[in-house]
Symmetry: C2
Subunit: 213 residues, 2 copies
DNA sequence: ACAATGGGTGAACGTCTGTTCACTCAATAG
DNA sequence: CTATTGAGTGAACAGACGTTCACCCATTGT
């Protein structure tokens, strides 16, 4: 007996999740069939029901899993920001943050691709779940930004708006990184674009209310 | 004879395009079937082939049509910018531009929703077509920005990066506007968010190179 | 007036879909 | 040692799918 019963079940469940993630890579969850997934896993179609009630339930599990990856990235970003005791420039924070994003997209490409795609194309319940998770990320970012030096004049609403802009730009960057796949030249260009954009946004935010309205 | 032959054909073609646009509203092109479309139009499945070779060809036609709407919006934005002979503030330009975006999304909701969705979820050829069209829009915006007063220190690359950021933010705004559908309160909030974000970005871009690097 | 054109029809095909049901048989619990 | 549990099986179903083909017949060009 090399494998207990629950271990075997968990292994099959993982295989289903992985198969689904790969199969919907070039279309969407809404175009994914139970039989395709079962076929790739190597079980009979009916076996699927031992693990999930429906493709939609599978989708929600994939949302959870993907956001574990995304949150791991955010934790890394946060650790970098709060790393040294000495004050670091915004430019340095931006550079390190973008690097962290890039390396996590590399390591978990499928998860980031899944979020980017199903965010707009998934079944309604999946879309809603992703929208909600992203909103939570924005709120977290807002509280992080509030701790940063400089934002004397940022209202709660300003923080929300700024976080939304940054998250939007980063989601778009992740989306593009996934799209360029393995072309290192295009990726370098994208990375530089993301850096510049983040810097521009932060410069604009720092000037906000002092130089405008 | 109240209707010529080509008129009738064109009418059916339009009905197919409209039906497809509505049907894929709550899923995606990749999950759209020829028989669904034919059924809604009121023709037999085979009749579809008189107008399109495949669902994918239909999709590319919808891309064309949707970008006609999007370009109409850009033309409006440009007319507002170049409107008065007197110099206007950036804030005024931003406000008018966002208003133009909102009204066009209202008028052509289905087209904007289609672009936002299929951009990431459509069949590969459709995705590529949309990506290309958006890149063209970014280039157009870059040349417009170059004509604006102030950008003494903007390099060609900076202009590309800035345009990319603005277009990304506006695509995201359009996407959100479509999502809130008919809730005026949420829409007002979104509009205000978009305005503030655009202003922040422009302030940041104006300070660029002078206050950084 | 006559022939050609072409949008729309309806049957038929093979394939794929989700879901049901009764089943096996090794890993577990008592 | 025996009884139970439950992951995986395999047949069967009704329905939807894309695509083919021969066909109809009103609008056209001559």
């Amino acid at each position: 007996m090399t494998e207990t019963r629950v271990e075997r079940k968990e292994r099959t469940r993982r295989a289903i999740l992985d198969a689904a993630l790969e199969l919907c890579e070039d279309s969407s969850l809404v175009a994914l069939s139970l039989r395709q997934v079962a076929g790739r896993v190597g079980i009979v179609p009916t076996g699927f029901y031992r693990h999930f009630d429906s493709i939609e339930a599978l989708g929600l599990a994939l949302v959870d899993e993907s956001f574990v990856s995304l949150r791991a990235m955010l934790r890394d970003v946060r650790r970098v920001e709060a790393g040294g005791t000495a004050p670091v420039s915004f430019a340095a924070i931006v550079d390190r943050s973008v690097d962290t994003l890039v390396s996590h997209v590399h390591a978990q490409r499928a998860h980031f691709a899944f979020i980017a795609r199903e965010r707009t194309a998934g079944p309604p319940s999946v879309r809603e779940a992703i929208r909600h998770e992203i909103e939570l990320c924005e709120r977290e970012l807002a509280t992080d930004l509030a701790r940063l030096p400089g934002p004397d004049a940022w209202s709660t609403e300003d923080l929300r708006i700024l976080s939304n802009l940054i998250v939007t730009a980063m989601v778009h960057t992740a989306e593009s990184l996934v799209a360029v796949a393995g072309r290192p030249e295009a990726e370098r260009r994208l990375t530089q674009t993301a850096r510049t954009q983040l810097r521009m946004v932060i410069i604009g935010a720092l000037q906000w209310r002092s130089g405008q309205e």
